[in-house]
Symmetry: C2
Subunit: 199 residues, 2 copies
DNA sequence: CGTGCGGTTGATGATCATCAATTTTGGTGG
DNA sequence: CCACCAAAATTGATGATCATCAACCGCACG
């Protein structure tokens, strides 16, 4: 959709589908730096070139605003700016959570963390509680997961198989994930205790 | 200074000195998620408990505001909120840059990246250009560097020695770092080309 | 003069990356 | 509906990088 360095004269909000933000090094090493799920915002008022690649990983519908009018609206309606600040601070928290994952978690914990996050977001969309049994479609290929987690796709595949062997998750086809017991998955993720204030 | 979970009824801006933001897991694994240098802002309007540990790593002077009056001021003076949004977006970019480092860079590249960043910030404080020869005092112990980079302190020490052996940096005592050729250091960091829009 | 902290260096090992088949899956056209 | 194909995923063998465990150095400070 957008390549790093492109001119980008709009901001947008995801309505349905999934997109990713990625950074790459010259030699091709890739790191995902954001996962855009429904309700997430993308783009930055006050900057006209994209610093990241934006890629749709499923069919995607976004609600776009031309940047100029949007900026004008921000000035005239302070509430919008406040809301945007709040969302940006949440994103910053999420990014920092992710730094802990990238820097300090084992491969198994990384996978479990990613699955918990997607499961939680999925559950909150469908207004179901995040306890007990859950299932959902993974919106990411193994490669995308690897790029998110700072692993290789082979390691992702192996750890998914290991979690399945250990009964933490079930797999149906490539994409469908079944979580028989969300608390056990959470334990594998290594996050502290209750996760009360996490998204 | 502040422990994760503490009540925090102020926001602040660093005047002089260096502080760090860290997250920890129950078993003690620690990841630094922010490095606060002079001019950086800390605290979040609209939240009253700190999600991270804040630690001073040098003598530190901060300019603090009680949160309540600050929030009131934000409402009455839209410009402050706008400025804060801008700063938060910059921090988000920095966090994402750091995610690439944590997920995909080698130990050597990580060290070189950290040294470049500190050197650049140092140079901009002192109004010197960031080319050619530079030197500065590292405001971090090996352990703090390790926590920042997602490495162990032993690996940090070894890679510092390796960079010294290769003539990329010089060391004087424990803290003083001499950079004979900033461009060579930059090459070791693995960032793309010119770094034009990086901080 | 000991003691503790920060740092360096060495030996060894675990984890994860890499290279290389092979299998599964979902889609497409006959 | 089935056969075929390419992309995605799995699995195995091997190796590099970095973590771990441990010893030791130098310096500041009581």
């Amino acid at each position: 959709m957008v390549w790093s360095g492109d001119r980008m004269d709009f901001v947008a909000s995801v309505v349905t589908g999934v997109a990713t933000l990625t950074q790459t090094m010259e030699d091709g090493r890739t790191q995902m730096v954001g996962l855009l799920l429904p309700s997430d915002f993308v783009g930055r008022p006050g900057r006209d070139h994209a610093p990241y690649n934006v890629t749709a990983t499923t069919d995607l519908m976004m609600c776009c605003f031309r940047k100029k009018p949007f900026e004008a609206m921000m000035l005239s309606t302070p509430h919008i700016g406040q809301r945007l600040l709040e969302m940006t601070l949440d994103e910053l928290d999420a990014a920092r959570e992710w730094m802990l994952l990238l820097g300090r978690k084992t491969a198994r914990e990384k996978i479990a963390s990613l699955l918990s996050i997607v499961a939680r977001r999925e559950a909150s969309l469908n207004l179901r509680g995040s306890r007990g049994k859950m299932d959902f479609d993974l919106p990411l290929t193994r490669e995308a997961m690897a790029d998110y987690l700072g692993l290789t796709l082979e390691t992702v595949s192996r750890q998914m198989s290991a979690l399945k062997r250990d009964g933490i998750i079930g797999l149906e086809g490539k994409r469908r994930v079944i979580i028989p017991d969300f608390d056990r998955l959470q334990d594998e993720a290594g996050d502290d205790t209750d996760g009360g204030y996490l998204v």
